[in-house]
Symmetry: C2
Subunit: 613 residues, 2 copies
């Protein structure tokens, strides 16, 4: 960037997301960044106190680059967080999933010894390769991709007939999608990818062992085009915008792949399969399909069961012949993240018990049922539990407060994911905070602040009264972490949307809450969801605590299972066509349920007997 | 081109073939062109007489462009010759072919009425389309290309659910490869293309009627890299040369497609299928596959049965999703031109009779057999009968002499294809000429000139003594058409290669010539092959004349039949694996047979009883 460019412009040119609510006027203070190194010139602004500027903070919109400059973007925009994983296939427990955990990927490497041709065995190279390949499985037909055909003759003759092939075998018709001379293969890898409206998470997997080598998590770069599905669909309605959203999600994934492969020391060209899960809108945007009809009655997407798509056609920077599988959707508002998520639960294993599955993402989805029947519905929860829409919120990554306790003396105790200075609070921390505020009487059942013994926790800022979680001097961003009544109202609306959907879905199948044998909870809350606190605020029903199972990102785990075994792809395919979808939007009872749930924990306290204890 | 460029350089930059045997020194006279219009500057040369320069001829290598200039390239390099055809499917006679002539292409248009979605019928767009499509044939699975998926939602809603789809249906698994709103389809077209070593011929076909709209013929642009397959394979051996040969054949085909579609008033984007036939080397070069192993023992190609390849991957400028089918080869020297060619004969219809099929192209191939068994072999004939390797030779296109008679008074009478001034002589004319020279005693049985009553027909030029066919003033190129002893020797070698292969193949199956019930002859001789003369020179065996059937370009016709009906694709597929291949190169008897055939008609005159008559 030339000297004189503002940091905000530089960030935008690099296509990195950075909010500037006031439009870059130096007025709102949302675009604060932390200068790490380099020369710059900034000017004072009412939105950023002098002492923070002295500590190296700056508003991106009024700060010009003078020379090489290195800056840290604010927590909510924090870009790629990578966690090195050493997850092994043998860690998957058969009884905890609905599918198969036997390694049987649709794309796999097969080593062959192809006899060199002779006057007696003078079949063409392709025919001799097919002949050998047929010895390696049950196969009706073998085809060969054109790009592979071009490498065939040379590969066979290089190492005396030994070759490594990669085959795509979705059934009894196989396609050879790569060939290398024997001993020169760099391996066969795949990625499982959960595309959330707010965050995108990806596993890099060795398809020859099933082990997860790396896990990378990042913000969905589309976030700058709207925080929820409806705003993304609206955004896509203007000319060129669909392409922009498509490019942003592809760039997000490519960046995660690049980081993961770099760290694992492999080439993206050795990734031959991507198993993707996401809600229906995210999948439409990934494919560049107009999502408009998803939000127009009768809410019909272009596609629920997406055919295999070549990764190159979407723009993924992986092997030229890599296939992309998208977990099948049920409908416009229950997507492949849910069918994949169900695979990551044992719900479909058992015909006796009735279980419930709750995925409280930006869009909330619920499933009730067992092996024989399933019913599902969706609700618009909002991104609060993933760190969106709440000023002190952030995803469950480095610097996030994940647990909160308030002592009787009003002291706030918390744990930060990386143990360092807090940058914000993730979903599990927000649930704890809300529960603790309620328990200690800082807020009433409507979420309004009450007068208390320790009024020093209340602070005033430009957003009104707030509860002080941590002072600015102890925080990474130098700004106090504060939760306001507005933030609390957002959290209450989110939990109310989820709970009322649970409640209505149960009524639809004629069951009471205590008839649910097991409850599986998924979402981006963080590692440690405190079930007790989630019940206390009325997000989850007041059931025996042993019935609850917190799964974390079940969509990603489901995508991983589909990557591992093609049987799982077939299971979710059948599931997506069999499951019954209940439309809440058109049900007038939903608004009643929702309104009743806008209290902590609920207007109907008989639903929450523990709350009185 | 800037002023001052020589015509030769301009021609080369335009990637048009123009021979310059001396390398552009103004010495050989091979690069003569005819100026049609414009300003230029040339210099005198011993190779081009002054009076021809005055008549507007010029040597391309010593002539500079001064301003806009329009030139006609010499006959052998004549580029694209288009014949408007009005060939209708109903013209195909069932009894004359071995396959089906019922219209049943693998790619076809299907019109659908897809109900718009409703709250009751809220399946995804793709699923509703699949549901309708299943009503149009026996189908197990329907898939949809990604590019089509992107257009689906908009197409369905544009005209109230009416859509035109294009499907690729090689079996019971269909793929939707295009969609347009109902009433907006421009039709579904295909091309059949015969890739010869010397010439490339193409039919543009309406796949909804089966009719041939246009036929375009052009020189294979690879001709500048060698005249036969062995020299092409050698050429491909140097770095970058394989790509060059690939690009040249693709450019040849694209140019033919462009001309044919322009004249038919359709868009190349509406071509969804290309059925290609060609010898194994041509197909390897089309696909960019290294042909090296074709000429190295044990003579094994990369592929005989080529899978369907997307046209875009090869570089064909047709629809993005168009499929290319290559007729299957038997081996390195009996290619898809022969399997396709057999389809265009009735040979495979009958179990009783034994027929022979002779394709006398640059590479000669023979088949003997019937419905139950077939045996095939190949010989290297050379391009003489297609107009190559003989100075006055040319392909059977505009300006070619196609029949020749010499009167007892030594007058040469001929017919020119377009009835205008002759430019050269095509295969059928050369056969006539040779027979007539023999009949009138101008040449002896070895092809040497004899003393005769009309010595004025003999002329001397830089190539020695020649027989004058036509004086320069009556010829299009202003140069006399002359045949020399060297040219005659070339023709004799060509006919000897073909005849001796026939003879040896018959010996292999233990049959005599007169046990052949029917003889089908294919090749680029021209429209009117004179069987009598072909027997007189010993190209064809001396059988009852009614047993001979001249087919013309059977490879192109076979490719057309495969385009018309997918049953035909299956027939040639099975044929290619069943037919027995006989290797002549490794058979010492072949050289004996060949040497015996180097006489007119043959050393063994008992084989040609009519010759004595």
């Amino acid at each position: 960037m030339p000297a004189g460019t503002t940091i905000l412009d530089a960030v935008r040119k690099a296509n990195l997301p950075l909010k500037a609510a006031c439009g870059g006027e130096g007025a709102c203070g949302t675009c604060v960044v932390k200068i790490l190194e380099g020369t710059y010139e900034t000017r004072p602004s009412a939105a950023l106190p002098e002492h923070l500027i002295k500590q190296g903070y700056a508003l991106a919109c009024v700060t010009e680059v003078k020379d090489n400059l290195s800056v840290d973007l604010p927590h909510f925009e924090e870009f790629y967080i990578r966690t090195v994983a050493s997850f092994r296939l043998e860690d998957v427990k058969t009884e905890s999933i609905s599918g198969s955990c036997r390694l049987n990927p649709v794309v796999r490497g097969v080593e062959l010894e192809v006899p060199l041709p002779s006057l007696e065995d003078n079949y063409s190279d392709l025919r001799r390769v097919k002949r050998e390949l047929r010895k390696h499985g049950e196969v009706d037909e073998v085809e060969c991709e054109y790009s592979t055909l071009k490498k065939l003759a040379g590969s066979i003759r290089k190492n005396n007939g030994a070759i490594s092939t990669v085959i795509f075998a979705p059934g009894r018709e196989w396609t050879i999608i790569d060939v290398t001379p024997g001993g020169e293969s760099k391996g066969v890898y795949g990625v499982a990818c959960d595309i959330g409206t707010t965050t995108v998470a990806l596993n890099l997997v060795n398809l020859e062992t099933g082990d997860i080598l790396e896990t990378a998590i990042g913000l969905n770069r589309q976030i700058k085009c709207g925080e929820d599905i409806i705003s993304r669909i609206n955004y896509a309605g203007k000319p060129g915008r669909l392409e922009e959203l498509h490019d942003l999600i592809v760039a997000t994934i490519n960046n995660l792949i690049e980081m993961a492969t770099q760290d694992a020391g492999i080439s993206p060209a050795d990734i031959f399969y991507a198993s993707v899960s996401g809600n229906t809108t995210m999948i439409h945007l990934l494919l560049g399909l107009d999502p408009r009809h998803i939000r127009e009655e009768p809410y019909v997407p272009t596609v629920n069961r997406v055919p295999f798509v070549p990764g190159r056609d979407i723009g993924l920077k992986i092997n030229h012949e890599a296939r992309v599988h998208c977990a099948p959707a049920v409908g416009s508002y229950v997507g492949g993240d849910i069918t994949a998520g169900l695979l990551a639960t044992p719900i479909l294993r058992d015909s006796e018990k009735v279980s419930m599955f709750i995925d409280a993402g930006t869009n909330g989805e619920l499933v009730i049922g067992n092996k024989d029947w399933q019913m599902t519905c969706a609700c618009s929860a909002g991104p609060a539990f993933e760190g969106g829409g709440v000023r002190c919120g952030m995803p469950a990554t480095e610097g996030a407060i994940e647990t909160v306790k308030i002592s009787d003396e009003g002291k706030v105790e918390y744990e930060v994911i990386d143990g360092k200075m807090p940058r914000g609070i993730c979903g599990s921390g927000l649930i704890d905070l809300l529960a603790e505020l309620l328990r200690h009487g800082y807020i009433d059942r409507q979420g309004k602040f009450k007068k208390v013994n320790t009024p020093e926790r209340y602070v005033q800022n430009e957003h009104g009264t707030g509860f002080l979680i941590e002072e600015g001097k102890n925080c990474y961003w130098g700004k106090a972490l504060v939760i306001t009544e507005k933030d609390i109202a957002t959290l209450i609306r989110t939990k109310a949307a989820v709970f009322s959907a649970c409640s209505l879905l149960l009524k639809n199948v004629g069951l009471a809450f205590d008839e649910i044998d097991a409850l599986y909870i998924a979402g981006g809350f963080g590692q440690h969801l405190n079930i007790e606190n989630a019940i206390r605020i009325g997000l989850l029903p007041d059931l025996e605590r042993t019935r609850f199972h917190y799964l974390g990102n079940s969509s990603l785990f489901g995508a991983y299972l589909i990557l591992l075994s093609d049987n799982n792809r077939k299971i979710v395919g059948a599931l997506s066509e069999k499951i019954t979808y209940v439309e809440l939007n058109t049900d007038p009872a939903y608004m009643n349920e929702y309104t009743g749930a806008l209290f902590l924990p609920h207007t109907d306290m008989t639903l929450f007997p523990s709350a009185d204890a």
